[in-house]
């Protein structure tokens, strides 16, 4: 039975190297969520070639894949508009990886992730697609209750059906809690973090990982250490500046898909302490 009848997961395909993984991820996620899969390819009005068909050919998969819905229009604006449709619950798109600019999303992806208010899964080239079940999602949380409240619906609707949540909180040097020398202290602190920030979705949540250090480094280390299949991040949709370093780092790392959930930074940022993720 569909869990989200009448809702769509929108796979945004182009000739990105990640296109196959984008399509596979979108297909699997849509199935896990009980949503419909909608595949779209946007053709710019200047008549640029539609290369998507070529990218779908290898392996004979194209014959089994849904035919992309081709829409003509300005690519970024059209994708954002499509994502804003009421029945779209999630978008999936690829990012480019260029040797000269490894942290560059690609101008289309950059525009979409910074403008769309929809949750998006960005699949880097080379990343394994999400299978939609039994996977491990690393969820870095900054300890602000509004951030936690913002991400909770995504975790409940999207992540819980597909696997296990592995929360992560990274302290900075200025905010290391008192009395954490004992492993018991760290356990209770982690349990408290889960209770306070993941209360509604703790059923498939592992004990949070508490770390101290540079957020990007700790998140990337946690991806490897905890064998995460994806990372779920709340963000303010600003790719520039220091606070987006985590997003840039994750996208540049490119080892796993990144679920980006936009939040209103003006509201979320007004609470809690800065500097830790």
């Amino acid at each position: 039975m569909s869990k989200l009848p009448g809702k769509r997961v929108l796979a945004c395909l182009d000739d990105s190297p990640a296109a196959d993984a984008v399509l596979a991820t979108a297909t699997n996620v849509a199935r896990a969520m009980g949503a419909e899969l909608d595949v779209i390819s946007v053709v710019p009005p200047d008549g640029s070639a539609v290369r998507r068909s070529a990218s779908m050919s290898p392996g004979g998969r194209a014959s089994r894949s849904p035919t992309p819905r081709v829409v003509v229009g300005p690519v970024e604006a059209t994708l954002v508009d499509e994502l804003e449709q009421d029945d779209v619950v999630l978008g999936v798109l690829g990012s480019r990886a260029l040797a000269a600019q490894p942290d560059l999303l690609g101008h289309v992806a950059r525009a979409v992730v910074t403008r769309s208010r929809r949750s998006l899964i960005v699949v880097p080239p080379g990343a394994e697609p999400l299978t939609g079940e039994g996977q491990r999602f690393l969820v870095p949380l900054d300890g602000r209750s509004r951030t936690s409240r913002a991400v909770a619906p995504v975790l409940a609707a999207l992540i819980e059906p597909m696997g296990t949540i592995v929360p992560l909180h990274v302290f900075d040097d200025a905010h290391v809690p008192m009395f954490v020398s004992s492993p018991h202290d760290r356990e209770v602190l982690a349990d408290e973090f889960a209770a306070r920030h993941l209360g509604p979705v703790v059923s498939r949540t592992e004990r949070p990982r508490l770390r101290l250090g540079a957020p990007v480094d700790e998140i990337l280390a946690a991806i490897r250490r905890d064998e995460a299949d994806a990372v779920v991040v709340c963000w303010s949709q600003h790719l520039d500046g220091g606070r987006a370093a985590v997003i840039r780092g994750l996208l540049a790392d490119g080892s796993v898909p990144v679920v980006l959930h936009p939040i209103d930074v003006a509201r979320a940022g007004s609470e809690g302490r800065p500097g830790s993720v």
Binding site: D173, V176, S181, R186, E192, R209
Partner: protein
């Protein structure tokens, strides 16, 4: 959490007490100082309140709030010493009997009060001209009996049957059975066989507009058969008594408890209440309805006092030195039967302690650093630090001072209680077996000096060290106690006793030529950082610098040499106390919640008033203000014990010895007059201290030493002489 009323720590205007010794503390019993008033408005505060509002005794603890408004709640029922059968056991969670179903029509205000005088929790919601009130206690008079009354609009409240939250965990079985006329729900751990059973009965009285639901509860726990029957029997007896009589008996029990102890600080009402809150929960941890009034012993059971008691799951309910060094000494002076039960918990596990020593090729008995039901070592062996590194946890292997700490608790208990029956039996066995362990553990060098190598002291930043001062001093004390008790009661070979005496003398515990005790061999050669080079304590220096880096510095987690000064000052050079304190405090990160109160106690002795008061207040409000963010996991009982000790041993300088009390107050003027009550050998002792006068008074004559002069009297008046005191 929001606590109603002022949370300011600034001392109000001082109460002028010109002749304090003769002046009663007039405002001391004002009722608001006996009530912890909480407004659990936000999620964080609510979770801490769930521990703060635990109703408990030495056997059971029921924590949690009533979540009428759908807020996240973490109620639980625990039983002392009842654990799961996991490899690393944890407290078994029993059926929750406190759940209330209610409906709030419209916006509401919520308040929570813990009545410290009578051990009653009141939880109230007011909405649209209506009120729902939950009134709850775990009987202080009838073991395993609890009462909950819910009053509210007839269409707004209902109770539920006991439930298991958040649901039965793997490895446990939940059953419900009819025992006689009582429905009994029980949770049994399939591996350990441990069981907690709850029988409940609701009496509902409706009027046209209001409803009153009185729930009577019988609770039992243990490892054998018949637990359900015991719970049903307790419920049956509770029903035959009725709620009004149960509450009268409960209130009387708490009146009797408070007749034996208390602290009044009229100029510092917030601090007074915080000390009382700590004393209250220490009394809960150490008292049951079966205790004899006022005096000592003859408890029929044992009590495993975990690091958070039965108020939460943190530390998995394991028993550490927290019990023997921080909680038991308090109970010895305010609830001696509870102290005896805790010592009997250790005595009952001598078999495991002997077996461990034997396995390690030693004699005697070695106790585990972390202990649960069986008395085996249950310390985890590894954990990730905040850097993500997997660290070996070596405390279970190397923190052997726990064995001497238990011996210290035995001696201290006997000093306070005069319980020779205990000393001659269980106490003697504990002292002898632990001393035997040390004789086989000590290494004797060619110069005949005795050493303990490869240990961890209280300062756990430095592992596998040699001749840790704290450990050596505590072992010396252990050997001395064993020798004295063996000489007194017999039963040991004189040669063995002589060996203990010789080893005690041979143990290396000497200050260097500058009068400084080197915390362990080689400590002074480490990088001599001040803790202030890293930040302002309290801080987690090991997390900040990393485990290996901190081990290369002289920064310490908590008092180590100074902890020895706190526990056994007579074994260290009093003349170099202050310089050792100054050196240690400069390097102490207070990385343990045990550290602030003990440091405060020592700093009071050195008249470093401001530092002492700051640390005392940190300890006092650690849970009330959820300073650590972990109070939801249970209350820091050892911090509470340390707080009481800071008042008793530090501020008042009151200690018990084999020959009487010693009194040497060090009270900063800013704290104003202090009145303190405790038990010495079955007699309530009242201590009052103000600027220049003090009084120690009991109903029978007690010996009191002041500045080396001992007098025996019911009432001792003492006056200040410069920085010291003398008998008047």
């Amino acid at each position: 959490m929001a606590r109603t009323g002022s949370s300011a720590r600034q001392p109000p205007a001082r109460t002028e007490v010109a002749t304090a010794a003769a002046t009663p503390v007039q405002s001391a019993d004002s009722s608001d100082r006996w009530v912890v008033d909480l407004a659990p408005l936000d999620g964080r505060g609510r979770r801490a309140c769930e521990s703060i509002a635990t109703v408990a005794d030495a056997s059971f603890g029921a924590r949690g709030l009533t979540g009428l408004d759908g807020s996240v709640s973490w109620p639980a029922l625990f039983a002392s010493g009842v654990y799961t059968g996991d490899d690393i056991p944890e407290l078994l969670a029993g059926p929750v009997w406190t759940t209330v179903k209610g409906r709030l029509d419209g916006p509401s205000t919520e308040s929570l009060q813990v009545d410290l005088r009578h051990g009653i929790v009141r939880h109230r919601w007011q909405f649209d001209g209506h009120e729902i009130m939950v009134h709850r206690f775990l009987s202080g008079a009838d073991v395993g009996v609890a009462v909950q009354r819910v009053d509210g609009p007839v269409d707004s409240v209902a109770t539920t049957e006991p439930v298991v939250r958040p649901g039965p965990r793997p490895g446990t079985s939940v059953t419900s059975a009819l025992v006689g006329t009582a429905e009994v729900m029980s949770v049994r751990d399939d591996r350990s066989g441990a069981c907690i059973a709850v029988a409940a009965h609701d009496e509902v009285n409706d009027t046209s507009s209001s409803r009153s639901i009185v729930r009577l509860v019988g609770i039992a726990a243990g490892g054998g058969a018949g637990i359900q029957t015991m719970a049903a029997d307790r419920l049956r007896r509770a029903r035959s008594n009725g709620p009004a009589a149960l509450e009268r008996r409960h209130r009387s029990a708490w009146d009797r408890r408070w007749a034996r102890c208390g602290t009044w600080m009229p100029d510092r009402p917030e601090l007074e209440r915080a000390v009382r809150f700590a004393t209250f929960h220490l009394l809960c941890a150490g008292s049951t309805g079966s205790d004899p009034d006022g005096t000592v012993q003859t408890p029929s059971t044992e009590t495993a006092i975990g690091a958070r008691g039965v108020t939460g799951t943190s530390y998995r309910g394991h028993v550490f030195w927290d019990a023997d060094v921080f909680v038991v000494p308090v109970l010895s002076a305010i609830a001696p039967a509870g102290a005896r039960r805790s010592l009997d918990y250790r005595w009952a596990r001598l078999g495991q302690a002997r077996a461990r020593a034997h396995r390690e090729g030693r004699r005697g008995a070695r106790f585990p650093w972390e202990s649960a039901a069986a008395g085996t070592e249950v310390t985890p062996v590894s954990a990730h630090d905040l850097r993500g590194n997997l660290l070996a946890i070596r405390t279970g292997e190397l923190e052997i001072h726990i064995t001497a700490d238990i011996a210290w608790a035995v001696g201290n208990h006997v000093d306070w209680t005069g319980d020779d029956e205990f000393l001659a039996s269980h106490g003697l066995e504990l002292l002898v077996e632990t001393a035997r362990y040390w004789t086989s553990r000590l290494e004797i060098d060619q110069d005949r000096s005795a050493h303990l190598r490869g240990v961890i002291g209280p300062d756990e930043y430095h592992e596998h060290v040699d001749d840790n001062v704290f450990t050596n001093v505590m072992v010396r004390h252990n050997l001395d106690l064993a020798a004295a008790a063996a000489v007194r009661f017999g039963g040991c070979d004189p040669t063995e006793i002589r060996t203990w005496q010789e080893l005690s003398e041979a143990l290396v515990v000497e200050p260097d030529e500058s009068g400084i005790y080197e915390q362990f061999s080689g400590y002074h050669a480490l990088d001599d950082l001040s803790v202030h080079d890293i930040g302002e304590p309290p801080l987690s220096a090991d997390a900040l610098l990393g485990h290996d880096v901190i081990a290369g510095t002289q920064i310490i987690k908590q008092p180590d040499v100074m902890m020895a000064y706190h526990l056994v000052p007579h074994l260290l050079d009093a003349g170099v106390f202050e310089r050792n304190l100054a050196r240690a405090i400069e390097r102490t990160a207070h990385g343990s919640s045990l550290s602030p109160a003990i440091s405060a106690s020592l700093l009071f002795r050195a008249r470093r008033w401001q530092e002492a008061t700051d640390l005392l207040e940190l300890a006092a409000f650690l849970d009330l203000d959820d300073v650590t963010g972990t109070t939801a996991g249970g209350l820091h009982l050892a911090t509470m014990g340390g707080l009481w000790q800071a008042v008793t041993f530090g501020l008042l300088g009151l200690r018990a010895t084999a020959s009487g009390l010693v009194f040497d107050p060090h009270v900063p003027p800013e704290l104003g007059p202090i009145r303190h009550r405790l038990m010495y050998r079955g007699t309530p002792i009242d201590v009052r201290v103000s600027d220049d006068r003090a009084r120690v008074e009991g109903s029978v004559a007690v010996p009191l030493a002041v500045a080396g002069e001992t007098r025996k009297a019911c009432r001792h008046d003492v006056r200040r002489t410069g920085e010291g005191w003398e008998h008047r």
